[in-house]
């Protein structure tokens, strides 16, 4: 009976798949009718249920990943192990050494390799310099996760499953980290470098180790998403900080930059500080600060171009004796600690050192929401806090306050930014209160700590006395130059003061114009009269 029913069922299934109806087929097996109808309708139900498909994102991304992995296997280049024989060359022109080693191994037909290299002597004021003499003899090579907001998951080596990442979790090489929508995380490496992961980013830690007493290696694979890197200057010649993307390899020796990888493997590199060399398919371009380059899958890098300007900019200036940090609504922070420890988790942001007298923190394209400014005071005195919201170089909102502080005290100022359609709607400074729980999630590594130089209050200068201040002057510049006189940042002047301005372009750039109420917009040497709060921007362009 069972055999007969199973045969009749199979026969009907076959006939129905060719267009027959259930009724017609069942009619040929009258004694099995009831059982057949029941089983056939179940089969039909399964067949007509909507099919599950992989997401388009996975479809595209996984193919790119597969192709890259197969290429790595076929050409014998292990992404995690750059060719050793190239290292002697690395001392002089490391990117060429690696490119040649790859080319020697086999002609690359599919995988694009591009390398980023910070030029020696680039201006890097956010870098914690590492001193070889102060480096401990033995250090743990590790990477620590900080969950800033939302859902962050990790996959430990050898595991098929993702697990929730906990703050402070230490990751071994081979681990992967991914952020969900609206989620942010920071990875801090033992040598002091850090990466901020924006939402929907997937990154793999391939190698984190000491090569020798003076040199460290960090090798990462960014599968997709956006990352913001703050790479400390490496002193050992064998040191390496390397990022692979589906279409590229990036080799860095110390800078601030961001990497964006889309689902087709298209890689965009944008430099915020320093000069970067980008090579792909045996072609090399130099990428100065404020410039970006794209590398399409299988193509050489594009011509460098100016990074899109940020229409909105938030500038916070804090004068000594306070050392400041700012945290944005995603929990990402930028600033300094009094021991000299610097951190930068906000994509595109920069901070000058508090040692210069006034610490200026610039945040391009700020997110809407609650911000906090932390003031840690290193002496008794009055600290000025100035906040300016700029839209296309023009000041939209400004706020200035002065705080009597004592050595060792710490304060928290909260403010909220309302932004709609890319424009500031309001900026409301809520309150100032003694600092309770520090809002920053930062990891001070042993190696980074060893090189810290505590911040000292500056000596008295001939700057305008605070009591004479009536108006605020915010001085900023675009990429390609600086304002040499009176210097960049937020400055304070009495009403009616005439301030001299001198714009100085970097090499390869020229002065274009001023934005703001200056006497002569098109002269690099001009003046501005302080009859109100002013914001002035020096604009530079690449020389032809």
């Amino acid at each position: 009976m069972r055999t007969e029913l199973s045969k009749a069922l199979d026969d009907c299934l076959s006939r129905i798949s060719k267009g027959e109806s259930i009724e017609t087929c069942v009619a040929d097996f009258p004694h099995l009718r009831a059982q057949l109808e029941s089983l056939l309708s179940t089969a039909l139900f399964i067949s007509t249920t909507p099919r599950v498909s992989p997401s388009e994102r996975f479809r595209t991304l996984s193919k790119v990943r597969l192709m890259v992995r197969l290429h790595e296997r076929s050409i014998g280049v292990k992404a995690t192990e750059p060719p050793r024989k190239a290292e002697a060359t690395v001392l002089k022109v490391p990117w060429r050494g690696l490119v040649y080693a790859l080319i020697e191994s086999r002609a690359l037909t599919f995988v694009v390799t591009f390398l980023l290299l910070i030029a020696i002597g680039g201006s890097l004021f956010m870098i914690v310099s590492l001193s070889s003499s102060s480096q401990p003899a033995a250090l743990a090579s590790q990477c620590t996760v900080s969950v800033l907001s939302g859902s962050v998951e990790v996959q430990i080596p050898g595991s098929h499953t993702w697990q929730r990442a906990d703050d402070g979790m230490t990751l071994a090489p081979g681990s992967r980290v991914r952020t969900a929508e609206d989620s942010h995380a920071v990875l801090t490496f033992f040598e002091g470098s850090s990466i901020k992961l924006e939402p929907c980013t997937d990154i793999e830690i391939q190698r984190v180790e000491h090569v020798d007493e003076r040199s460290t290696e960090v090798v990462l694979k960014q599968w997709v998403g956006k990352t913001w890197h703050r790479v400390v200057r490496m002193i050992g010649p064998g040191s390496r900080y390397e990022i692979h993307t589906p279409s590229a390899h990036a080799l860095v020796r110390g800078t601030l930059f961001e990497i964006e990888v889309d689902e087709t493997g298209l890689t965009t590199v944008r430099t915020t500080e320093g000069l970067v060399s980008v090579s792909a398919q045996d072609e090399e371009v130099l990428l100065p600060a404020g410039q970006e380059v794209t590398v399409e899958f299988g193509a050489p890098p594009s011509e460098p171009r100016a990074a899109p300007p940020s229409d909105t900019k938030l500038i916070i200036a804090v004068s000594m004796p306070a050392v400041a940090s700012v945290c944005d609504p995603t929990g990402s922070c930028i600033g300094y600690l009094p021991n000299g420890f610097a951190f930068n988790q906000i994509t595109g942001a920069q901070s000058t050192s508090p040692s210069e007298g006034t610490q200026v923190i610039t945040i391009p394209n700020p997110a809407a929401g609650e911000y906090s400014v932390v003031l840690r005071c290193i002496a008794d005195g009055t600290s000025q806090v100035n906040l300016a919201c700029l839209y296309k170089g023009e000041s939209v909102f400004t706020h200035a306050s002065a705080h009597e502080v004592t050595d060792g005290s710490a304060w928290l100022i909260s403010f909220a930014l309302e932004i709609e359609g890319g424009e500031f709607i309001s900026a409301v400074v809520d309150h100032i209160e003694p600092l309770g729980q520090a809002p920053e999630k930062i990891v001070e590594t042993e190696l980074a700590e060893a090189s810290l130089v505590p911040i000292e209050p500056p000596e008295e200068t001939g700057q305008p006395a605070d009591t004479e201040r009536n108006y605020t002057l915010a001085v900023v510049s675009s990429a390609g130059g600086t304002v040499a006189e009176p210097g960049q940042g937020v400055l304070f002047y009495p009403a009616g003061a005439v301030v001299h301005l001198i714009a100085e372009p970097d090499e390869g750039w020229e002065f274009d114009s001023w934005t703001g109420n200056v006497a002569d917009r098109f002269s690099p040497v001009t003046t501005i009269t302080m009859n109100q709060d002013q914001v002035v921007t020096a604009n530079f362009v690449l020389r032809d």
């Binding site: 067949s47 909507p50 599950v52 498909s53 193919k63 076929s74 993702w162």
Partner: protein, 210 residues
């Protein structure tokens, strides 16, 4: 007249399917041969051809989108490594690929011991809200019922009714004779019928609804 047109249409469609299948077989054969000689881009085309099928097969086994994605990627890497062996055995590529997928899923269950706390989740589609809700409920019920089947019955149901493979292809993949497949198919459908009509209780698995 209508009936005549219907029959002509049936024949025409059958002929078209047959021609398409022959072309597909030739194309796949050629891609497999190129892949076996190290052509990565040919394997990329094979990947695009079989990605949906392998993903679906794995998803119905593990019931979790993320795990299915990870396992699918690993299966294609495994297949690349073993493509030389496939050439020597001379089986259809799809049957060989499903076999690798099946073994990999079994390995996954063995190592992660996830099968006792299987989570079944659904994917959002682009239909209207009402259709989506109704579709999801039906799909959810079905996924749950399939997940409760014994491993081999589950494999058979996925291959036959979700992947639309014929008994010959299933025979090659599962390594079972036609008679055994027919009996297993009948038992699996009977079990599903009972479960979908509520005649059977929970099978003890945890389900995750989206």
């Amino acid at each position: 007249m209508d009936s005549v047109r219907y029959i002509v249409g049936q024949e025409s469609a059958a002929q078209h399917v047959s021609e398409a299948k022959t072309y597909e077989d030739d194309r796949v054969r050629s891609l497999v041969a190129r892949t076996a000689s190290g052509d990565i881009e040919a394997y990329g085309e094979l990947y695009s051809t079989y990605l949906d099928r392998i993903y679906r097969y794995v998803f119905h086994q593990v019931g979790n989108r993320t795990t299915a994605e990870d396992l699918t990627e690993e299966i294609f890497i495994k297949a690349w490594k073993g493509i030389g062996k496939f050439k020597r055995k001379g089986r259809p590529f799809s049957a060989w690929l499903y076999r690798i997928a099946h073994n990999h899923v079994i390995d996954y269950f063995r190592t992660s011991r996830q099968h006792q706390s299987l989570e079944v989740e659904l994917l959002a589609d682009e239909s209207t809200l009402e259709q989506e809700v109704e579709g999801k409920q039906i799909q959810q019920l079905l996924l749950e019922a399939i997940s409760c089947l014994p491993q081999q019955q589950k494999q058979l149901i996925i291959l036959k009714f979700i992947e639309d493979l014929d008994n010959c292809e299933i025979e090659r993949i599962m390594g079972k004779r036609q008679g055994a497949i027919r009996v297993m198919q009948m038992r699996a459908l009977a079990t599903l019928r009972q479960r979908l009509s509520g005649e059977m209780g929970e099978c003890g698995l945890n389900y995750q609804r989206l």
